[in-house]
Symmetry: C2
Subunit: 184 residues, 2 copies
């Protein structure tokens, strides 16, 4: 079940460096792409940095709409993640093409991909120089959600058997998030 | 054994979002801190984005020296990572205090922490506005290394039993990099 994550904990959703899906919508046009180069940038308000390459359909929709959703796909979505990361939305709607179910968010128009481990609804903080020089976007999270099978008491608690978040290694190869280790 | 990683593959060392250690040296002063908010920013030349909070000793040395090394610690270094992430180098040299062995890099003066999974020697590309507004540094990697027990043929190949990189969840809690999953 998708549960609300307090914004003060939103950075913890991506602290561990999982690969994300970036969804966007502008008017009737929508898209989803894979992005490994996404990380927290600040705690409160929760901000994230995301690299979105120039020339991509997501970049066009992100700049037009000024908002997006980030979500962390799971080990059950490796094929989906690779598919949306290696095809362009300019060649047709990827949600229809790959049979990707979505649900509505609370604060932004971008669709949320069903079955992910977490979702972060974000608004772009315009930084034209940064976007132009480094393809880097600063995103402020305005609503955050997690799957309560995987997240409890303000942290990831993946069951021993079951879905986990994933980390991109190189084209088409990922690592599951592994064993939990407490230093203290 | 520490082996050379071609710069065109350097981004793959941190693609999967592991926690890093940032080492710095300026004259006789040196430091090491933990940083989870580090990610690739570009392929060639390989560039990385790293958040280094204002007021930290690492920030002072990084700005003074204009260079640093990033390294990914392993499951054998969870205690070390937590220790250097929760103590300040202003209170005494952390390498001595925590018994951290180092070796020399090739291109920068910052020490390399022995036993890590990979090492990236980096120079700061000055971006004063970005550093000031978001504590974000753009680093260009000028030399890269990996432990050949963990890295082969241009990618992470962690043995089933043995050390792995780690990912920060929340204060003192990490995840090991888990199972390899190929989408194709």
């Amino acid at each position: 079940m998708r549960i609300d994550v307090p914004l003060r904990h939103a950075h913890r959703l991506l602290n561990h460096g999982p690969t994300t899906l970036v969804t966007t919508r502008h008017g009737p046009r929508r898209n989803v792409m894979a992005a490994a180069w996404v990380m927290p940038l600040d705690f409160e308000p929760p901000r994230f940095a995301a690299v979105v390459a120039a020339g991509t359909f997501t970049r066009e929709l992100l700049e037009a709409a000024g908002e997006c959703a980030l979500q962390a796909p799971t080990t059950a979505q490796v094929g989906l993640t690779y598919a949306v990361g290696s095809n362009s939305g300019r060649d047709g709607d990827k949600f229809e093409r790959f049979g990707i179910a979505t649900e509505a968010g609370a604060k932004v128009a971008a669709p949320l991909v069903t079955g992910c481990a977490c979702w972060l609804e974000c608004r772009v903080l315009p930084e034209p120089a940064l976007q132009s020089a480094h393809d880097l976007f600063v995103l402020e999270c305005v609503a955050a959600w997690a799957d309560d099978e995987l997240w409890a008491a303000g942290e990831w608690r993946f069951p021993a058997a079951g879905r986990r978040t994933i980390h991109h290694s190189k084209g088409g190869v990922f690592f599951a998030t592994g064993e939990r280790i407490a230093a203290r």
